[in-house]
Amino acid sequence: MWLKFEPRPEPSRVMTYLSPLLAVGLMFLSGLILFLILGKSPVEGFKVFFMNPLRDSYGVAELLLKATPLMLCAVGLSVGFKANVWNIGAEGQLLIGALAGGWLALRFEGSHSPFLLPAMILAGALGGMLWAAIPAFLRTRFNANEILTSLMLVYVAELMVSWLVHGPWKDPDGFNFPQTKLFSAAATLPILLTGTRVNAALLFALVALVVGWVFMNRSFMGYQMKVAGQAEFAGRYAGFSAKRSVWIGMLAGGAMAGVAGISEVAGPIGQITEHISPGYGFAAMIVAFVGRLSPIGILFSSLLMALLYMGGEQAQQYLNLPSSISKVFQGMLLFFLLGSDVFINFRPRLVRRRK
């Protein structure tokens, strides 16, 4: 006997919704097996990893805080991914966004203007867009592959942050340590829930989800993007596409990543250091895929990803496991999802093996 996949006449709607659940289920299952292999009680492991982070309201607040940048980056990326525009440099765009917005905070240090913060957010978005515009331009003008250029620019952005905090932007009273001054209150995002670190960035993220939904489902441009995405992929990797979808896809991703960046430095960090993002821009790609490139899906998948991050921290603290277990879970989740997706377009059938 031989397992064979037969194309369905049309994609299964049921499986479209079931497949992410299947993937999450499989991830839990493999997680249990993993804990067993590591000689930890699976029940205990499960509790520590998935329940501990949410044991009190502070934990829930931290989950929201952690999910915010993922949500922002993922919703922007999903616009491009829909059109097969593979911006994998959101991490770099996030950093440049943080620098652009942070520059305003440092430049107008003493200001109490209520316009400072909005201007910073705007600058963050523009910074991210600028960084994303480079691959978009190289792609549309010179046909250079955006997967590779956007990624190379991540390294350049990281070095730029490093140079600024070690050099021109260094806090003059900071004993030469690589960090800028702390942002003033007027340049810091307001906290939504007192006693926690959840700030206004969560609202930006929720708004972005709504705007993303309207754009993709209710606008002609969004429709065009989707159609562009259904065209052949091979040509795209090698270099043919509607220039417009490249521009829109890249800029949307850049803008949102930039907002995520400035929200981190004007939020929980409060200054620019070399450690702005623990890889949110990369993790957001998983979030976007697991969320089916749809804003509603992204809402859930970003929360799930944030939980995986925090679970890793818990496993590190209470199970003595390395925190990189988070990445193992995240990778598995995406793999299982991609695998489960086969059932959307195909029906599994056992057939007799052909001679």
């Binding site: 340590f177 070399e274 702005i276 623990p278």
Partner: protein, 363 residues
């Protein structure tokens, strides 16, 4: 004994202990936050040695817990907070990047005492500590100056923060004090821990004529590189953070080793005895917070003697590695003759002294 009696007895016990000032009823939890994996050598490894030493010295009175590989970003705050929430009474955060996070959490937990290594912010329940690594560096430099044949030393460095600058400058001054022709070349690798790059940088320095190699990065790669090139190039090395004799058995001449255990024991005791009143400790050879790694038998006896005498002078306060005149690379006098550099001046050091061949990256 039934539960009630047990409760009563322990209550009485606690009262008694409290009355006598002993807090050892139940072991006090002490937490440590590390920036990298403990591993086998390096910054975090030394802190963990210190933690173990303290735990052994305070047997029964404390239990310790550490969390390694904690990133220095926004996530650190959550982890430090959780340590406090879990009942750790004393928390040491051992990397500069935890400063603001530790400060924030210390305000939320006034009954917990926090200590932050290498920072500059303090509070009522928030102390800082650091070591005068430059004292060891100066002595290493003296050995290098005597031992070099090419008159070139290579220095693999991470980032130009004051601690690193002090090290480079002290090493250079030590080297030049016994060998006026000596020069020090620096390669910045822009990373605290990247063995590939560190090794590449060491090899580069060696192939360009440096026969004395040291590092201010976290891996053993540089010492290993020197060991490997010794036969061909006559290269020697000086370790940093840990004694890396294991990795450079024939070629490590000496090194600057961090010792945190005594400090941890003393500090934890003080806090438990309620005698702690705020720490801004910057300890050196005298306080036992650093010491020289074993001096290689290849070093001639007279050089060894010179170094030991200098070590004694530093401990006794008779000699300061940055005693004036200190002249920087551009010829500007930073400390006048007859003066010693102040701690504040050292804390803001952002220039090379004369004898460093490289120039600092422009600001």
């Amino acid at each position: 004994m039934n539960h009630r009696k047990l409760a009563l007895a322990s209550l009485a016990g606690a009262a008694l202990l409290a009355a006598t000032g002993l807090m050892a009823a139940e072991p006090v939890k002490v937490g440590f936050v590390y920036v990298s994996p403990v591993g086998d050598a390096g910054w975090t490894f030394q802190h963990d040695l210190g933690r173990k030493q303290m735990e052994a010295a305070m047997k029964g009175a404390v239990t310790t817990k550490f969390i390694e590989n904690v990133p220095e970003g926004a996530d650190a705050e959550r982890i430090i907070r959780q340590l406090a929430q879990d009942g750790n009474q004393i928390i040491f955060t051992t990397s500069f990047g935890y400063m603001n996070q530790t400060e924030k959490v210390s305000k939320a937990f006034p009954n917990v005492t926090f200590f932050h290594a290498t920072g500059y912010k303090t509070g009522k329940n928030f102390g800082i500590y650091n070591a005068r690594f430059y004292e060891g560096r100066y002595l290493n430099g003296v050995i290098a100056g005597k031992m070099t044949k090419t008159n070139v030393a290579g220095y693999v460095a991470a980032f130009p923060i004051p601690e690193v600058m002090q090290g480079i400058n002290a090493f250079t001054r030590g080297m030049k004090s016994v060998n006026p022709k000596a020069e020090v070349r620096v390669i910045w690798v822009n990373s605290w821990f990247d063995p590939g790059k560190e090794r590449e940088a060491a090899m580069t320095l060696i192939s360009q004529g440096a026969d004395m190699i040291t590092h201010h990065t976290d891996s053993t790669a540089v010492v290993q590189a020197a060991e490997e090139k010794h036969k061909e190039k006559g290269t020697w090395s000086f370790s940093y953070h840990s004694d890396m004799t294991k990795y450079g058995p024939t070629t490590q001449l000496s090194g600057t080793t961090h010792i945190w255990g005594d400090f941890y024991t003393k500090t934890v005791k003080e806090v438990l005895d309620k005698k702690w009143t705020g720490t801004n400790l910057w300890g050196g050879l005298k306080d036992g917070m650093i010491k020289l790694a074993p001096i290689n038998p290849a070093v001639p006896a007279d050089v060894k003697k010179t170094v030991e005498k200098l070590e004694g002078d530093i401990k006794a306060g008779k000699f300061h590695p940055f005693a004036g005149p200190v002249v920087d690379q551009d010829g500007k006098e930073r400390v006048a003759k007859g003066m010693n550099m102040t701690d504040a001046e050292m804390g803001a050091m952002n220039y090379y002294v004369q004898g460093v061949a490289s120039t600092l990256p422009k600001k």
